[in-house]
C-alpha cells in the first residue's frame, strides 16, 4: 500500500493548516537534532543506531522531547516542532519505523489547555482534508475520563496505581484476563488495557484518558491531589492512539531516579542502554511548570482522511 496522489495532497494541506494554526496561537516553530547521544531512555522504545561522532555512539531520536524541554528551560515558550522520529522494529497498520511527530510545549499552562489544543487541531485537520468531523463522530468536545474509571467500567476491577505487580496480576486474572508470562507492572497493565480498554475506546467517540498510574509516569509529574497517579493524558480517536501529554516533571532528582531505573530494566532485558541526558537534568531546575505533548502527525492525517493504514498517508512507506 502507498499513498495516492489525493492522499498526499490532503497531507500537504493538513500540515500547512497545522503550521498556520500554531502560528495564529503565537507558537515559535523550532528544529532540534535528529541524531543524538541520548535518545529516549524508555524501556519499550528502541532507537536506531546512527554511527559515531567524536568516539560517541549516536542514535536517531525516538522523540524530540529532551531537546524541546531544554529550549523551554531556556525560556522559549510556546514552541512546536514537526520532525521525523524513528523507532526500531515497529511496523503495523498504525506503526512505521520512520514517522512524523508533532510536539508542542506550553510553559505555565495546565494539561487541560493541551486537550483543548488537540480538539482544535483535529478540527483544523478535518477542514484541510475537506471532511466534516461531525459526520464521523469526531467533533469537539471530546470525552474526558480517567484510567481508573475505564478499568472500573471495562475491566471490572479497581486500579488505584498503588498496587504491587502481584496484586495487579491477581486482579487481572480474577477479571478473566489471560495474562501469559507477564510479571512486570506495565506489561500486566497493558495486557488488561489491550484486552479490555482499547476495544471499548475504539467503539466510543474521541476520548482523553487522564490520570495514569504512577508506575507509567515516565516524564510526568505526580498529581498533587493524588500521588498514585501522574499528570498525563492520552487521546484516543477513531480507533487511533493519537497523542500523549504530560504535565512535565521538572524535579531533576526524581527524573534521574526514573532514568536510572529505566536503564536498569533495559540492561536486565538485554536492550541497549543509552547515556543519561545530563544536559536535560541540568536544565530541569530552570524549567517552569510546563505542559508538553507528542502527537503522531501521520495518525492525525489518517484520522482526517479516513485512512485505515498508516502507509496510505506516507509517500514511499516501504523505503
Amino acid at each position: 500500500m502507498q499513498a495516492t496522489r489525493p492522499a498526499l495532497e490532503a497531507r500537504g494541506r493538513i500540515v500547512r493548516a497545522v503550521r498556520a494554526w500554531f502560528e495564529r496561537e503565537g507558537f515559535l516553530e523550532v528544529s532540534t537534532p535528529a541524531r543524538v547521544r541520548s535518545p529516549g531512555q524508555e524501556v519499550h522504545l528502541d532507537a536506531i543506531p546512527a554511527g559515531q561522532t567524536g568516539g560517541d555512539a549516536h542514535w536517531l531520536i525516538t522523540s524530540p522531547e529532551y531537546h524541546l524541554k531544554r529550549l523551554v528551560a531556556d525560556g522559549l515558550s510556546p514552541i512546536f516542532e514537526i520532525c521525523r522520529c524513528w523507532r526500531a522494529e515497529e511496523s503495523g497498520p498504525h506503526h512505521r519505523s520512520e514517522f512524523t511527530m508533532l510536539e508542542w510545549y506550553r510553559a505555565n499552562a495546565p494539561l487541560e489547555v493541551l486537550a483543548a489544543d488537540c480538539e482544535a487541531l483535529v478540527a483544523v485537520a478535518f477542514q484541510a482534508a475537506g471532511r466534516d468531523p461531525l459526520a464521523v463522530g469526531l467533533a469537539a468536545p471530546f470525552t474526558r475520563t480517567s484510567v481508573r474509571e475505564l478499568f472500573a467500567r471495562h475491566a471490572g476491577f479497581t486500579l488505584t496505581g498503588a498496587e504491587t505487580a502481584t496484586e495487579l496480576r491477581a486482579a487481572a486474572e480474577g477479571a478473566g484476563v489471560a495474562i501469559g508470562a507477564a510479571t512486570a507492572w506495565d506489561d500486566l497493565f497493558y495486557q488488561v488495557f489491550l484486552d479490555r480498554i482499547e476495544p471499548a475506546l475504539a467503539r466510543s467517540g474521541p476520548t482523553f484518558v487522564f490520570d495514569w498510574p504512577a508506575p507509567l509516569g515516565a516524564l510526568a509529574r505526580p498529581n498533587p491531589r493524588d500521588p498514585r497517579v501522574v499528570e498525563r493524558f492520552e487521546l484516543y480517536a477513531g480507533g487511533l492512539e493519537l497523542a500523549n501529554a504530560f504535565g512535565e516533571l521538572t524535579d531533576p532528582v526524581e527524573q534521574r531516579r526514573r532514568f536510572e531505573e529505566e536503564a536498569q530494566i533495559r540492561a536486565a532485558r538485554g536492550k541497549a542502554v543509552y547515556p543519561i541526558d545530563e544536559a536535560l537534568l541540568a536544565a530541569l531546575p530552570q524549567m517552569p511548570p510546563t505542559a508538553g505533548i507528542a502527537l503522531g502527525l501521520d495518525r492525525l492525517i489518517m484520522l482526517a482522511t479516513g485512512a485505515g493504514d498508516i502507509s496510505e498517508v506516507q509517500a514511499f512507506p516501504g523505503a
Binding site: 524508555e42 519499550h44 522494529e89 515497529e90 511496523s91 503495523g92 497498520p93 498504525h94 506503526h95 489471560a178 501469559g180 508470562a181 507477564a182 506495565d186 506489561d187 497493565f189 497493558y190 495486557q191 488495557f193 489491550l194 484486552d195 482499547e198 507509567l216 515516565a218 492520552e234 492512539e241 500523549n244
Partner: protein, 188 residues
Amino acid sequence: MYDTSDIRKGLKIMIDGSPYTVVEFQFVKPGKGAAFTRTKMKNLLTGGVLERNLRSGERLEPADVETKTMQYLYADADSFVFMDTTTYDQVQIPRDTIGDSAGFMPENTNVEVLFFNGRAVGVTLPNFIEQAVVEADPGFRGDTATGATKPAKISTGASVNVPLFINVGDVIKIDTRTGQYLERLSRA
C-alpha cells in the same frame, strides 16, 4: 518453542491445552508499553475462534498437528476407515470424531485428516460433493418461485433441504461446509 516473532498465518500453537491455527495477526503497541501481537486463532478441535494479545517475547508451544490426505474406504458400526494415499496404511477414526461430516463422505474420496499428538481428531471434506438423491417426496413442477423446500436423503446418508422439483435419482451438488443444496446436475 516459538515466540511472537514467529507468528504468521497458519502457525499451529497450543493455547490453554488446545491446538490453534493462526488466522490473522497484527502488530500493536500501546504508547508507552511493550509491543504485542493481536492474534486471531481457530481452535483445530472445535473450530471456535479466539483472539489474544500476545506480548512480544512471549513463548508459544508448537502444536503437534499435521494433516494428511487420506482416502475414505468404508465405515462399520463404530468407525470410519481411511487409507494413507502414499503409504497405504489404514487408520480407523471413531464415528464420534467424524461428527456431522459422516453423512457427506462418499467412499473412495480423498479427505484431509487432522492428527493431533499422533491421533486422528478430525476430517475435512472436499468443499463440494455430487450425490444422488435416494429418498424424497415425489417432485412436482410449477412451484419454483416460492423457494419452498423438502427434505431429501442423499446416497452418503445426510438429509438435505432441496427444492420441491427434486426427484429420487437426481444428482445434486452440495456444499459440505454448510450442508446446503446448491444445484441439480442431472435428472433421474
